[in-house]
Symmetry: C2
Subunit: 393 residues, 2 copies
């Protein structure tokens, strides 16, 4: 059911490059060709100066707003913030959401066909980094004819991509809004990633990544991986509020070795659901990219990473109950950006929603994003798109 | 190699009861017979007033101190605190450590033989609670001829048992030292337990708990469960200090889907090690007992749970970086104990070691336990045991 204030029906596009010349990855390996899935909302203005690139988190896709069919139960993952009159106002801005390479939502990834074998890559897909994901997005932005993005933004892994844009492609963006994220994956984050990967490896159906033609997929392992992840997206307080010690169906303890508490049912349900929409090999690749992410490398200094990025305007947001990317990660980032003399607005938003707060604190985020983008559009003299004409691309 | 200040060579004893009349469990089910593994250190004094019961955490055993053989690499799990001249001074006190039912270290549990079938119980073992574990320990204390324990103590699940003793067997103890624990498992704790259980369920070798006669055990699932648990025992800061983003063997990223970071290797190594010393079914039973633990039930009030326990002296200890049983759990407990007028000493110890701090902050804990026990022994006029005589039991 399409909500009234939504952008309405949208579709996912694909852009394929590196058809003739292979795309060089950070590892030294290459990928050829490379496909990116992306969606766009709103219209590019004549000066091509109103484009905002939205980047998704671990399990996200290019489908950030609107509906694919009139019957869709749910809109895109950030529909609360992208649409006419919303924070990323599609009456004013041309919003692009790009999927990442390594994923399983239409971009090149382990379930794509390897042209060398005509079989899915599986573990033959090269390991990709956040840097590789973003360099592929640069190709997309080139393709869309945009020289400078007004803004790049995203939460969690999306925020890492935004920071990667700022650190390594500073001339291509005017502003960056990294939300609930980090400039460097911590050992605790690596530890949680690894547990998820080990859960997948432990599933015999994973079969070293060769399961695409098999009846049984490594769903059990992937579900456990997702359950671990899911806990880290919630705060302890949110779990108290949402579930407490409530039993799902029983009146009293059943004294059986089985799922009984509401919080267990919720995690199990979501873990199983996840296996219907995500690929286990992609989970390995995308978490590996997260773990490798470290903007302090190789210089050892976060400020050095942003040495050429002082002209960019930043809105950095953390959330008080986010224990996956706790506030100190954002504070370290803000200290580095401030050290290079960048224009930084920083907020540590009081929230009980944990890491998920960047998607759930809609009202606060709308006010905040709106005022930052208003100021940005004014300072950069961003013209409105000419309405009711065909989209230029 | 036996350390000089150790209690020396010790052995695990067993006590079997409910041979004729079945042991009634909270669930309504029964167990017959019931065996408890236990160890004792030091000597009971003539008045039988110097006995301290030590209770272990999730994966612990009755082997709390000393060595089983002269070649043992490591002493019992709390050897730092139990021994001659140590916090639990075996020159003064008669220290007992009892294993829990449901476990796999010599007490009745899912790998025990079910007399009805002459096969291991597996999932036919009844679900047991912390209350059941403690009522079995009461039988052991009866058997040892001890009317009143000077003190019960333990960390984590051991602390829950200590609280269960205080709440439901208050006339049998004079003091309780619950460390890094809670009076009620939170939904986040339940969530982590359930992920561990689902990891075991997901392992085909688990086979509904029937694997004792099979070549393949659910080691892969159990290792993942342990890895998840292990993360929760460490603090983020401890992980930074211990591992940072260091690679285990490589000089630079290997760009392969495999374990590379030191923190990953550590977790994986410990997860695999765990499968050599713990039973997957016991992991299910013991975590279930943890999840069921809620001293506010059925009254709804923690103070009501301790209404008959005001005469007990309490030393409650939490640790600032313990995010598994955060400080607020202990503060709620202290508030309830204070409300009933109990004599409570409470410390929130500054530590970077996370939940494991109760075992690792040896110097601080020694001072603290020592001064509490000195005062207790003095106030209760506890006589020294007569030395150099055979142990009375």
């Amino acid at each position: 059911m399409i909500q009234e204030n939504s952008i309405g029906l949208v579709e996912t596009n694909t852009f394929t490059f590196a058809k003739k010349e292979a795309f060089q990855l950070e590892s030294g390996a290459t990928l050829q060709p490379v496909t990116l899935a992306y969606e766009t909302y709103g219209q590019l203005n004549a000066a091509r100066s109103n484009a905002i690139l939205v980047l998704h988190a671990l399990s996200g896709s290019a489908h950030a707003a609107g509906y694919h069919t009139a019957d869709d139960d749910k809109p895109g993952w950030w529909d609360d913030s992208i649409g006419p009159g919303k924070a990323f106002d599609t009456n004013r801005f041309f919003v692009i959401c790009s999927n990442v390479i390594g994923g399983c939502y239409g971009s090149s990834g382990p379930m794509s066909i390897d042209p060398a074998t005509n079989q899915p890559y599986g573990l033959h897909f090269p390991v990709v980094t956040i840097g590789d994901m973003v360099r592929a997005q640069v190709k997309l932005i080139d393709h869309l004819g945009i020289d400078k993005l007004l803004c790049v933004t995203g939460g969690s892994m999306g925020g890492m991509q935004a920071l990667e844009w700022a650190a390594h492609h500073p001339q291509r963006i005017k502003a960056a809004i990294p939300l609930a994220t980090t400039a460097r994956h911590s050992p605790m984050l690596i530890a949680f990633s690894e547990v998820g990967r080990q859960a997948i490896f432990a599933d015999p159906a994973w079969n070293q990544g060769n399961y695409y033609d098999q009846a049984q997929k490594p769903d059990a392992g992937l579900a456990v991986a997702r359950m671990v992840g899911h806990i880290t997206y919630l705060s302890e307080q949110a779990m108290h509020q949402k579930f407490g010690r409530r039993l799902q169906t029983l009146e009293r303890y059943g004294y059986e070795i089985q799922t009984e508490f509401a919080v267990e049912s919720y995690l199990k349900y979501n873990g199983n659901n996840f296996t219907r929409r995500f690929d286990a090999n992609s989970y390995l690749y995308v978490t590996k990219a997260l773990d490798y992410f470290d903007l302090t490398s190789p210089s050892g200094s976060l400020a050095a990473a942003f040495a050429s990025s002082a002209h960019i305007k930043y809105l950095v947001v953390s959330f008080t109950s986010d224990w996956l990317y706790p506030t100190y990660h954002s504070k370290e980032l803000v200290a580095a950006l401030t050290a290079v003399g960048a224009d930084v607005t920083y907020l540590d938003i009081q929230s009980t929603w944990g890491h998920d707060a960047f998607l759930l604190e809609v009202e606060t985020m709308t006010h905040l994003l709106d005022s930052f983008l208003q100021r940005l559009a004014q300072e950069e003299a961003v013209a409105l798109p000419e309405m009711n004409q065909d989209q230029p691309l």
